[in-house]
Every structure is written in structure tokens, then in C-alpha cells.
């Protein structure tokens, strides 16, 4: 239990009758990097704003470090750092001033690490914020968050606007934080990033949690594509359990299969295949199917 950093229970936010977040139950373990995914408007930012106490839940609640995220905000915020997707920082301050201010207000900073991060992110701190490009402004928040060495990092699409080189630096920083025992809650649309960084992935759709687990587990749950070529007529496989989308063109057959593959394999190998190929879904295919999960159920 003391390894649980963040836990939500029935966390719900309604705007009128519309549920932006619908009864979310989620647990994040210490040292874990949790990817928080979902299509636009799924409720990711709403979740994060609830966790940060910027908005109040309609029902349910959240605990961070075992403290109530709403009632004990100040104590919670001492130990977490947040990076919004689009920060509005004060245009009249310079980058260095902003970093100084954010550190003072947060109350915790590893100044040496901060200087190192400034170099690694190739950040020029003496410009005024209004003169920075979007990506450079984003770096300020990232540097401030990582330099705080906070126990929990809450990141909401933190790399929007970063170039590929900086995206790489960001990934290194997340992995360093993880090695350091910090916990990361990462909302993202960038699948590569999620694959490279996240231990577990939670997928949200229209305010509801539709899937949570490791990428491995999710891959297992979704369809594997199988294709084979035969010397003679391909065997009939449509009746087999878990098999769908069967296409036959001449001697060639493709299909998808969910769950145990042994029955299908037995039938195919009995028909003496010339070639055989099975492929796990790509990350894109996996997410597209999960993002669209509800539509499929409806149709």
C-alpha cells in the first residue's frame, strides 16, 4: 500500500449532464511511468486538473501520497511538479527569472541539475518569455519540473512543440527520473514516446477508462494478423473460434485472430502451407482499435 503514489476512486467530473470524466478508478505505483492516452476530448486534461485541485470533482476523489488531492493540496503540491501542454508564462520575465520564480514558489530545486538541464535542452535563459518560441517556452516548464526532483511528475502533453532532438532529451530525462525513483503520470498523443517510456498505459475514451495494462498485455488482447499461402485450395477457417476478417484470393489467405491461436494453426498446418506469416498489431493499429472501441460495440 505504501507503494501507491496516486489513487482515484470513482473520480467524476460533470459539466451539466455531460460527463467529462466518468467514475475513474486508477492506481499508480511508486516509480512507475504511466502513459495516459485517449482521443481529443477524452478527459485527460480534466483528470489532471482534478488531481491538481484546479477543479473540483462532482463525485469521487483522489489521493496522492496518501493525502486528499483536494483538501490537502498544499502538502501534495510540495511533492509534485506539473507541466501543462500549453503554458502561459509571464511574458515580461526572462527565462532565468521564470525558472527562479518557479523554483522559489515550489520550494525545492536541484540547482546543479537545473543548470545541466539548461545545457541539455539548449535553452538560452536570458531572453524574455515573450521572445521565446512555443517550444522554447515549453522547455522552461520541463526544466523547472525535472529540476524540482519532485516525487511525482504530472505531464500533460509535455512535448507538444519540441523538435525531435529535444524530444529525445525529454525521454532521457523521464528515464532518469524513473531511475531516481520518481513517478511519472504522462498524458500524450505521441505513441512512440509512450512505447519508449511507459511501464503501463491507461486509455480513456469519452470520460471512461477503457483499458489499462502494459503494452504487452494489450497486444495480447488484440487481434493478430495471420497470412499463409498454400499449394492447393486454402482450408476453411471461418468457423474457428476467434477468427475474423477472412480474405481468400486464389491460394492466399489472410485473417485476424483474437485469443489462443493453436486451433487455427492446426488447421492451417494440416493443409501444408507454402508460406506462413503472423504479425502483432502495430502500435497505431492497437490504439486506433482502442480509441474507436465504443463505435465498434455500437455498430
Amino acid at each position: 500500500m505504501e507503494n501507491v503514489i496516486l489513487q482515484t476512486r470513482g473520480l467524476t467530473k460533470r459539466y451539466g449532464s455531460f460527463a467529462a470524466l466518468d467514475s475513474l478508478d486508477l492506481t499508480v505505483q511508486k516509480g512507475e511511468v504511466l502513459g495516459y492516452l485517449g482521443p481529443n476530448g477524452a478527459g485527460k486534461t480534466t483528470t489532471i486538473r482534478l488531481l491538481l485541485g484546479l477543479i473540483k470533482p462532482t463525485s469521487g476523489g483522489a489521493e496522492i501520497f496518501g493525502l486528499d488531492a483536494q483538501k490537502q493540496k498544499i502538502a501534495v503540491h510540495k511533492r509534485l511538479a506539473y507541466v501543462p501542454g500549453e503554458a502561459t508564462l509571464w511574458p515580461q520575465l526572462t527565462g532565468a527569472e521564470t525558472l527562479h520564480l518557479l523554483a522559489e514558489i515550489h520550494g525545492q530545486v536541484d540547482a546543479e541539475y537545473r543548470n545541466e538541464l539548461i545545457k541539455r535542452f539548449q535553452f538560452e535563459p536570458d531572453k524574455k518569455v515573450r521572445a521565446y518560441s512555443k517550444g522554447n517556452r515549453q522547455k522552461i516548464n520541463l526544466i523547472a519540473a525535472f529540476a524540482s526532483r519532485a516525487d511525482l511528475l504530472v505531464l500533460d502533453e509535455p512535448t507538444s512543440g519540441l523538435d525531435p532532438l529535444m524530444e529525445q532529451v525529454f525521454r532521457e530525462c523521464v528515464l532518469e527520473a524513473k531511475k531516481n525513483g520518481q513517478t511519472v503520470f504522462l498524458s500524450s498523443h505521441i505513441l512512440d514516446e509512450v512505447e519508449a517510456l511507459c511501464d503501463r498505459v491507461a486509455i480513456l475514451r469519452t470520460g471512461k477508462l477503457v483499458e489499462i495494462g502494459t503494452l504487452e498485455q494489450m497486444r495480447h488482447l488484440s487481434a493478430v494478423t495471420v497470412s499463409a499461402t498454400f499449394v492447393h485450395e486454402p482450408p476453411s477457417i471461418k468457423h474457428l473460434k476467434g477468427v475474423s476478417n477472412v480474405h481468400i484470393t486464389g491460394q492466399h489467405i489472410t485473417c485476424q485472430v483474437v485469443g489462443p491461436i493453436d486451433e487455427l494453426l492446426a488447421v492451417l498446418s494440416a493443409a501444408k502451407p507454402k508460406t506462413f506469416l503472423s504479425r502483432e498489431p502495430s502500435l497505431e493499429e492497437l490504439f486506433l482499435s482502442l480509441y474507436g472501441a465504443e463505435d465498434e460495440h455500437k455498430s
Binding site: K56, T88, P91, I105, H106, K134
Partner: protein
Amino acid sequence: MSIKASTVFGRFVARRSLKLAIIWGGVFGLLVASSALAYATAYTTDASRAKIASTFGNNIGLKVLLGAPHNLATTAGFTGWRSLGTIIIFGSIWGILTASKAFRGEEAAGRWESFLSGQTTMRRATAQVLGGLFSSVAVMYVIVALATIGLGTLHNIQFTISASLFFAVAAICSAAEFLAVGALASQLMPTRAKAATMTAMTFGLAFVLRAIGNVSAEFHWLVNVSPLGWVENLRPLAGSRPLWLVPIIVFIIAISSLAIFVAGKRDHGESIVADKDTATPKTGSLNHLLPFAWRLIRPTTLAWCAGLLILSTAFSSLAKTAGQAFDASPGIDQALSRISQQASTTGAKTFLSIVFLMLMTIIMLVVANGVSAMREEEADSYLDNLLVAPVGRLRWLSGRIVLMAVTITAMGLIVAVGSYIGTRNVHIAAHDLLLAGINVMAPAAFILGIGILIMGFKPRLTSPLLHALVAWSFIIQIIGSAGNINHYILDTSILHHIALAPVVSPNWRVVLTLVGLGVVGCIVGMLRFKARDLESE
């Protein structure tokens, strides 16, 4: 890019400026209506009209504030002068604040950037935003025009439709002029505060030129070189002179075009008068919340303080001459001064009371803007940066309220000092002026409390409601002074309750009540703010 997409930003800006434009349009309409009704019902005989015409017509103080009157013996002439004089001032202030917000403010908040990432140029974007703002002015025009036309149909008023339409044109001219100036200043200056200050200084110059021109025969031509003088020269409802629209329109088009042209000469986030984009960090003020908050509001606050010092000194220095006009005019003032042997000071004090009323209104506007700025920090999510750190909402808000209270106190003292400097030639007791300065603080404290209350319960209405309240109070007070007005309506004006020091001594019960209500408003508003969701725009 489709036509729709290319105007989307202009429409966005128009929407954001529209609420206040509608409120001000409505307030202007009310102002016209109540000026006309008050006059038409209070002065029904030719004799009474001749009397009022000579009282107001010779009043230098009012000439300075509202411009030179014409045809004061008619309802139309009185209405045109009284309401246009006030509208010019408030319309200009709206223009100054709206333009600097739409250009510099939105740019700093990063909204220009996301728009510019579409296929548009700085020039086109600037033109669009100007278009959006001018369409808000058009809405203002429609409201004022409808109000004036409706009013004109009354049997005791009878404005012609064309006169009403022309009046509405005159009513929106200063707003349009200073929108254009504000747009240009926003291209030149690097920050919103500096752009607003530059525009305000232009306004001040135009105002002073017109004022001098109006009181001195020798320099009368100065009226004709001031953008505000041109508006006055239109003389709506008093023998309209539409030719003066020519310099106004030329001015607006020229300044707007210049703004668009200059916009193309600079990059996003840059400005022509370059403020250094790099700076050595000054971190002294960044270790604690309160000094940081002060650093954020310092430029605006200091600019207002300096402006108030100049205004209070300048206007009160006219007290002697204006006071003589008061003393010379028939009425209570004269009787009073004869009896009390204070011939030289009563008139001057009466004039000073009008000056203090105006300064009081300006300070209330400063507070309204200050509270709106707090709300904007929330709306534009600057506040998120603080609240996700271990900073409580109450700590943040109470710090801002304390700073605002200090500002109010300072401003009350500043206008007392300014009027003291300005009135050295009439020898008004410093003590009286100090009390008048303290008197000024009360309605401002009340506005602060109401502002925090609105911010707690209806954050998106903070700026429009608060500005409307200030404008309403001022207008009702001005109109109330012209005669017959329902006392229930008068009661809704904060300024009506406050004694007009220094001609009479402050009513301390009212002062304490207003301050007390302000404190209650702050507390209730803060508690509600703590409990609610943060709301972005």
C-alpha cells in the same frame, strides 16, 4: 484558406470585446436619455432655461471637462453637450484598454501565435483584429442610435431621426479614434502596459489641447487640432457640423493603416520600439509571492499614480478661475459665499468637488481594471503556475487584495497632494483636501469588494459588470446634479451616497459603510473563489 477561416481570429477578438462594447453602448444610451429627460422635466420655462444656460455656459471647469456648450437653452443642446462630453472620455478609455488588450495582451498570451501558424501574415491578422474591434464599435453605434432615436420620439424631447443618428456617430468617434491609436501603439511598444500608457498619453494630450482651446480665446484654434476637439466640433444635437467628420475619418483610417503597415515590419512577439529581449535576471522580487505580484502590477499602477498626480494638480489649478465663475453665477453658491465671507474659496471648493468626483471615478476605474487583471490572470491560466505549486488560493488572492488596498490608499493621498499643489493660489486648507482624499478611498474600496465578490461567483462577468457599475454610478451622479431624477435610481449610484468633499465635509458614516461593505465583499468573494473551479476564458 477559406474566407471563414481567415476571419475567425477577427471574430474571436470581436466576441471578446463585444460584451464591454454592449455595456458601454447601453450606458451611453442611458446617459443620453437621462440627460435629456432630466433637463426637459426640470427646466420647462424659458426663464429657467436661460438661467441654466448662463450658469453652465460660463463655467470654466465644465468647459474643461466636457467641452464648450452650445444652445444650452434647448433640451437638444444641453443633452448633446452634457452626454457627449462624458461619452468622449469613457469611449476613449474603452478604446485604449480594448486595443492594448486585443493586440499586446492576446499576443503575450500566445493566442496570436496559434493563429499566425495558419497561413496569414502579421499585417492581415492586424487588419482582421482591427476589423473585429471596429465591428464592436458598430454595435455600440447601433445601441446608442436606437436609444437616442427612441428618446427623440418623446413629445417633450423631439430629436429628429437624422439628428439622433448623427449624435450616435459623434458618440462613438472617440472610441474608434483611440482604438486606432491603441492598435498603432501596440505595434510600437513591447508590452501591453506600455502600449496602453502611450495611448493614454496621446489621449491626455488631445484632452489638454481641447481644454486649453476651450477656455482661452487666444488659443481657441487648439480645439481644431485635437482629435477630441474634432468630436466636440461635430456639435450633434446643437446644429450638427458633419464636415468635422472628415478629419476624424482621415485620422482613423491613417492611423489604422499605419498600424497595419507597421505590423508587417515587425515579427510576432517583437515591437518597433524594441524593449530589450534579453535582460540580466533581477530575482530580488521573485522570492516571494507578494513582491512578485507587485512586480506584475507595478508599471500600470505607477503610470496611474503619475497620471492622477498630474490630473489632480492640473485640474485643481483651475479652481480659482472656475470658482469665480461659480461665484458669479446666480444660485445658492453665491448666497452661501456672501454669507460666509468665503467668497474666494466656496466657488473654488465647489469646482474642486467636481474634480474630486472625476478623480474618484478614475480611481474606481483603476480598481475595476485591477480586479479584472486578477481575473485575467486566472482566465489566461497564469495563475495555474502558482496554484500547482504549494500556494493556496486564499494566499494568492489576499495578497492581491492587500496590494490593491494599498494602491487605493496611495491614490487617495496622491489626489490630495495634487490638489494641494494646484490650489496654492486659493488657500484651501490642506486638512480639507486630505479629508477629501480619504473620502475618495471609500467608493474605491467598495468597488474592490464588489469586484472580488463577482470574481468569486461569476468570474467571467468580472470586468463587464464592474466597469458598468462604475460608469453607471458616475453617470447617475452627473445627471442627478442636473435636477429631477427618481431617488431610487439615484440610490443605485455609489457616488450619490458619498458627500462631495471638499465643499462639504465627508460623511463618515457613509465612508465607513462603503469600506465595511467592501471588506465583506472581499471576504465572501474570497471564500467562494477558494471553493470553485478555476475557469478559463
